[in-house]
């Protein structure tokens, strides 16, 4: 029985990881483009930036809703603990997402677009910052007893989560820039490419800082990283991440259009894999493990037959939607 629970919990850990990675990449570039609209000099260019998101932003955001629901079902204790502990960052993130969605829609109808333009860009930035703070707080550790939170509401307001937040903002902006290289042309594409260099460098610097810092604040990670055989299991991930970083720079220099996006996604996936392997078997460090947080086997199996089987189907029809709207965006706006 213990083994069955362990297996099911691990399967759901992987599935949630896949959903989270999909969310981070897809809404990451959406939030990134949102932040980059701050630097659009004209309304026309901003309209083109937003036009690249028109058909997909809602679907991208929905991966987070799915993540919330799947986490709630598969690991109810972790869902309760994380959201309770991260009350303020989560509420700020939700406010950001409310404003972003509203601004995106209302902007198109508005005659004086300035207010909604600013709201859209700031809301994207705030959402990214709040997600970064939440990630940093989880890595920093969320104290709990029997799954109930024992820390305070401001525990996230510490240097480490704030630095991680800066990294997430840079990472999302990088995703936004490489997505724009793929979906735009001309001066917007050129600017996105030069921005991508800077953002790649910044993201890389913060990622290195966080990687070096993590073992100091979270000793379990250090033990895991530097013990055999885990060392050899983890090693390919930073190597792959670094290789992808170099390939990204090369692709940017050579003026490729799709490759920068692909390599950036590889960097994100490698980082994610690194995080997941480092945390395992803990779901919410330092004390809540996967098995402690898991729902009953009946629920995990029921969810696996429903949500688990639907996951590939979701990917297919989401992919189809991308396929329908592929190609360069050259006209501003999304209501046509």
């Amino acid at each position: 029985m213990e083994q069955v629970i362990g297996l099911l919990a691990n399967i759901w850990f992987v599935l949630l990881g896949v959903i989270l990675a999909l969310y981070v990449v897809l809404d990451g570039f959406t939030l990134g483009v949102g932040m980059l609209t701050l630097f659009s000099p004209t309304e026309e260019r901003r309209g083109i930036l937003m036009g690249t998101l028109g058909s997909v932003w809602d679907a991208n955001e929905t991966w987070l809703v799915l993540l919330g629901g799947a986490l709630f079902g598969a690991f109810p204790t972790a869902y309760a603990l994380l959201l309770h502990a991260l009350y303020i960052p989560v509420i700020i993130m939700l406010f950001g997402m409310i404003l972003r969605a509203a601004a995106f829609e209302f902007r198109e109808h508005s005659e004086t677009k300035r207010f909604w333009n600013l709201a859209f860009a700031i809301a994207s930035l705030v959402t990214a910052l709040a997600q970064g703070v939440a990630l940093g707080s989880v890595l920093q550790g969320i104290p709990s007893v029997n799954g109930a939170y024992t820390g305070g509401v401001f525990d996230w307001f510490r240097p480490f989560p704030l630095v991680v937040a800066v990294g997430v903002v840079c990472g999302y902006a990088l995703l936004g820039a490489v997505y724009l290289i793929l979906r735009t042309e001309g001066v917007i594409q050129t600017r996105a490419r030069s921005g991508a260099y800077w953002l790649a460098g910044l993201t890389f610097a913060v990622a290195v800082a966080v990687t070096v810092w993590t073992p100091f604040i979270y000793p379990q990670v250090a033990t895991k990283w530097f013990s055999l055989p885990d060392f050899f299991l983890i090693l390919p991930l930073p190597v792959a991440g670094f290789a992808a970083f170099l390939l990204l720079l090369r692709a940017l220099t050579r003026g490729h259009e799709a490759a920068p996006f692909v390599w950036t996604v590889v960097i994100f996936v490698a980082s994610f894999g690194g995080l997941a392997v480092s945390l395992h078997p803990y779901l919410v460090p330092p004390s809540l493990t996967l098995i402690q947080a898991a729902a009953s086997p009946a629920t995990l199996i029921f969810m696996l037959t429903g949500i688990g089987m639907l996951l590939p189907v979701m990917m297919i029809y989401n992919g189809y939607q991308y396929l329908v709207f592929r190609g360069k965006v050259t006209v501003p706006g999304y209501h046509h």
């Binding site: 309760a80 406010f95 639907l310």
Partner: protein
């Protein structure tokens, strides 16, 4: 903690009551869009295409606010109701997961094609996308009502060490309140949307703008609402009887019914009253003998437990609110039925033609003023359902006070104020922009994308309207 509890409940009430405004229209309007698209493809009448394009402008504006206000609800159980989430997630969280995977994702995955894909995909693929959006929207109502009904009448599992563990998914999902609840809410969405579509169409007709065009949508609304309105009363009656069987304290609270009627006598039904929890009686009431027994049990002498049969700690709060919210909902249900009978009568008399419909000013005003009624009934219904469930968060299993997250009251107050401000902005902007869309009106000259002449759907088309109009 008392303050945190009140604030957390207020915040949930605010976010849920605000959010539900939008999906009710999304669910009904998405089906209406599918109907228009099918009529366009079958009858080849470009007006139905133009209807689809026109109403989808309102749809997307409404949908945007719905998404914006819906995402917080997915997380609010964890932020403000962590002990509830940890204890009940085994079923409740799982169902929210299904809602995300089967409903929201389906809706979002085809929304872009439905809204912006008219020129990018063939008409039939577009129709398929519209169907998937409508299906996703309706499935979201199914899953959330399953989850909510389970909080009303939990079944299919056992409490082990303070946590609910599912033993039978069939029993948990199809708990006593679920099927009536799903049906009642889904029909509420249809009825609200039909009132909105009909009211706006009536407004254009009243203003003599595109009269023939909007007579088409008004007729669709009437044809559907004539069926929906009576069925909704039937579903409401069924939901009510489940409440009296499964949640007798809630039933008694909603009706201001204090003393259990002795065997062989009927419980009287208070038409108006002022229930007073402190004094454990109605301050005053106008009652009709025997009617409550009839409503609750379909028999004149059926026994209906009175509130006094329950200790005050197990009685719902805010009794006058429950009492009048319920009566408002019921009154609206019957008013709408009357409006539909009136509409049917006019239609039967041949008055709903382009040259005659404009003369029925009073009837048009009745339709126009019915626009908010569905929303009012939905909000009232949710107040009855949720306030009536108190003091339980999961009826009989967990009290609301035991389910709330331990947080400083100031933190919850701050988030409550934030939500209130944001939602005020959203509602204001929505009304401004919706008004703009409506004043601008439809593009009645828009050319639809070509339908293939060999399309098999055309074979069964009864009258090729396109030729007539050419």
């Amino acid at each position: 903690m008392a303050n945190t509890l009140i604030l957390a409940r207020s915040q949930f009430a605010l976010t849920a009551l605000f959010h539900i405004l939008w999906p009710v229209l999304t669910i009904g309007l998405s089906l209406f869009l599918v109907v228009n698209e099918m009529l366009w493809i079958r009858r080849r009448d470009p007006d139905y295409y133009r209807h689809a394009r026109f109403w989808s402008k309102l749809f997307i504006l409404n949908f945007g606010v719905g998404v914006a206000s819906g995402v917080p609800l997915e997380f609010e159980f964890g932020t403000n109701w962590a002990p509830f989430s940890a204890a009940m997630g085994d079923f409740f969280g799982n169902i929210l997961g299904f809602e995300g995977a089967m409903a929201f994702m389906l809706e979002a995955g085809f929304l872009g094609i439905m809204l912006f894909g008219w020129k990018r995909v063939a008409p039939k693929i577009h129709l398929f996308a519209s169907c998937m959006v409508a299906l996703g929207a309706s499935l979201s109502a199914f899953w959330i009502m399953v989850a909510n009904s389970w909080m009303q009448t939990p079944a299919g599992g056992v409490m082990q060490r303070g946590r609910f563990a599912v033993t039978s998914y069939t029993q948990a999902m199809f708990n006593p309140a679920a099927l009536w609840g799903v049906g009642h809410m889904w029909f509420a969405c249809l009825e609200t949307s039909l009132l909105v579509i009909g009211a706006l169409s009536a407004w254009y007709i009243y203003k003599q703008r595109n009269l023939a065009f909007f007579l088409k949508s008004l007729k669709i609304a009437i044809a559907a609402a004539v069926l929906v309105a009576p069925l909704q009363i039937f579903l409401g009656d069924g939901s009510g009887r489940v409440v009296f069987q499964q949640q007798p304290a809630k039933g008694a609270a909603v009706e201001g019914h204090w003393r259990t009627n002795p065997p062989g006598t009927g419980a009287s039904w208070a038409l108006v009253a002022w229930p007073d929890k402190a004094r454990q009686r109605n301050d005053w009431a106008i009652s009709i003998p025997g009617v409550l027994s009839l409503l609750a049990t379909h028999s004149f002498t059926g026994q209906v437990a009175g509130l006094k049969a329950f200790p005050p700690a197990d009685q719902p709060p805010s009794l006058p609110l429950l009492f009048y919210a319920f009566r408002l909902m019921v009154a609206i249900g019957f008013y709408v039925l009357a409006l539909m009978l009136w509409s049917l009568w006019l239609w039967y008399r041949g008055e709903l033609t382009t040259d005659r419909v404009g003369r029925h000013r009073r009837w048009l005003i009745a339709w126009i003023s019915a626009l908010p009624l569905g929303y009012l009934a939905v909000e009232s219904g949710w107040i009855v359902r949720e306030v009536g469930r108190q003091p339980w968060i999961v009826n009989g299993l967990m009290r609301t006070a035991a389910g709330v997250s331990v947080l400083p009251p100031g933190t919850v107050l701050a988030s409550f104020i934030g939500y209130a401000l944001l939602y005020t902005l959203l509602l204001t902007a929505f009304l401004v922009f919706a008004r703009r869309i409506l004043r601008k009106g439809p593009d009645v000259t828009a050319e639809p994308p070509p339908l293939k002449p060999t399309a098999p759907l055309q074979v069964n088309a009864p009258v090729p309207h396109a030729f007539e109009e050419d």
